[in-house]
Symmetry: C2
Amino acid sequence: MTTLEDYLEKNADRMDKMINRYFGDVYGDLFRASAHLLLAGGKRLRPAVVSLAADAVTKGSSYDLLPAALALELTHNFTLIHDDIMDGDVTRRGVPTVHTVWGEPTAILAGDVLYAKAFEFICISDAGNLEKVRAVRMLARTCTEICEGQSMDIAFEARRDVSEAEYLEMVAKKTGVLYGAAAAIGGVLAGANPIQADALYQFGVNSGVAFQIQDDLIDLYASSEKSGKDRASDIREGKQTLIAITAREKGLDLAPYQRELTGAEIDDLIARLEDAGVIDEVRATAIERAVVAKEALSVLPDSEEKRLLGEIADFFVNRGN
Amino acid sequence: MTTLEDYLEKNADRMDKMINRYFGDVYGDLFRASAHLLLAGGKRLRPAVVSLAADAVTKGSSYDLLPAALALELTHNFTLIHDDIMDGDVTRRGVPTVHTVWGEPTAILAGDVLYAKAFEFICISDAGNLEKVRAVRMLARTCTEICEGQSMDIAFEARRDVSEAEYLEMVAKKTGVLYGAAAAIGGVLAGANPIQADALYQFGVNSGVAFQIQDDLIDLYASSEKSGKDRASDIREGKQTLIAITAREKGLDLAPYQRELTGAEIDDLIARLEDAGVIDEVRATAIERAVVAKEALSVLPDSEEKRLLGEIADFFVNRGN
């Protein structure tokens, strides 16, 4: 029986090889900029979801869908490059961001190149043409929604009254739908029927939302070895995360913490959030989304891959705990 | 017999209606920003090439390829929005550029939304699935090349030794390939065989190069009613156009003109360029490309649409004369 850890490692190796083949030896600033974050590593979780979803539909028979799996990683990387420009971030995955190295114009174009390549790689997968057209449409709609999510995220920065519903919509669009597309595209290209494809999409979206909420928790707790400079960055920047929104609803305003914080101040804040029940409530929302994600898989026949998809949803809410 | 002028007007009306239907009443900053330049008008030349190419292949039988025609206009508009950010341009089509109104982050996202919509609209055209997959691949490869062209254009700004061959490669990528894709995608979706599709692509690329060279000439001459502030902007900005490159090859350095110029100085410069044979040579290159474009069409059966495609190539090099 394959463990999720083994599967993810094998998947990452496979993706790294493909990425090296297509992007490892490119010529010119534009293509080196496109390859920069791809070559900086990453868990390749979205490609893993594509492949597992495909194999869950076909009960483990093999399809050459690796190009489509790579397409989802390329889409993710295109959004990272453009988001980093908008957010003014200077490092990612331990390396300088693309615009920091090559400047904004080349970074905009580098993202645009990966965007195009994503659609190209869907088309060169080994699948039927009707299925490819469906996958292209799904990826296109997903990209529009990701843009909406990022646009909401930017708009939220100027507000202190974001509701939980608004936050969850933003996160579903910014992070959820790409996992939804990963699962559904894997399924569709492998011949999923509409009920299966929809179930896989729901699995992905809910897993992705759970992933993002857990990410917010990880940002707060981070590693105890880290200084106040690295921990609780969302709170120090006044970001409207589910933690901040839930705290506000419970009468705990985080605005006074929007400044440099010492490690002791962060520890104190965490204790206050825990005492007020904020952390338990946020964690419960993440776990609930993971449960919904796993329940969506019930329409699929039991298989090793279905089990691993379920474990991915659990992994998303257990990371960093 | 339809004149090209009538055809283009009818086509623009048709596209304007579609654009209004899909983008005329959108909600939120992101989608309004996406629609901004689309709604500001334009000749809709790329959609015209899609439709004419399709009808030239099927000898005028009707296909519902309007969504694909729109897809090419969306692709063009996405590149305009991103290019305007990179180039810091403040007006286009008589309206403020997208980033000037909504800021750079929303402008990046607005371009990304149109990018996605372009692929979506290819998929909802009335054509076979194999043909749609081919069209998507073609559009994806084209977008990568457009990014390369823009990247070369930016790199050329720092150089004064750009060769004619380098310039023509840049222009082919930045402007030519999208016309190539327009013609080939129209043809492919209408059932063109590979020889016809390739011929249409060559028609489009060469027409597009001719179009851009003529654009450079128009920038120099512009309307005599205009002040020195609007005329010869390429020369005042030191851009490496075919005019500047040809002038340099003939021993006429335009670097001293990289400054504010009076109308009289521009008139004097034009006279010097004409005397040195620069203008004749540049114009000859544009006309040669239009001839090559029209010759490529010889593999297609004679039809009203084939004639109109040929007239488009002529129109591209006669505009503004």
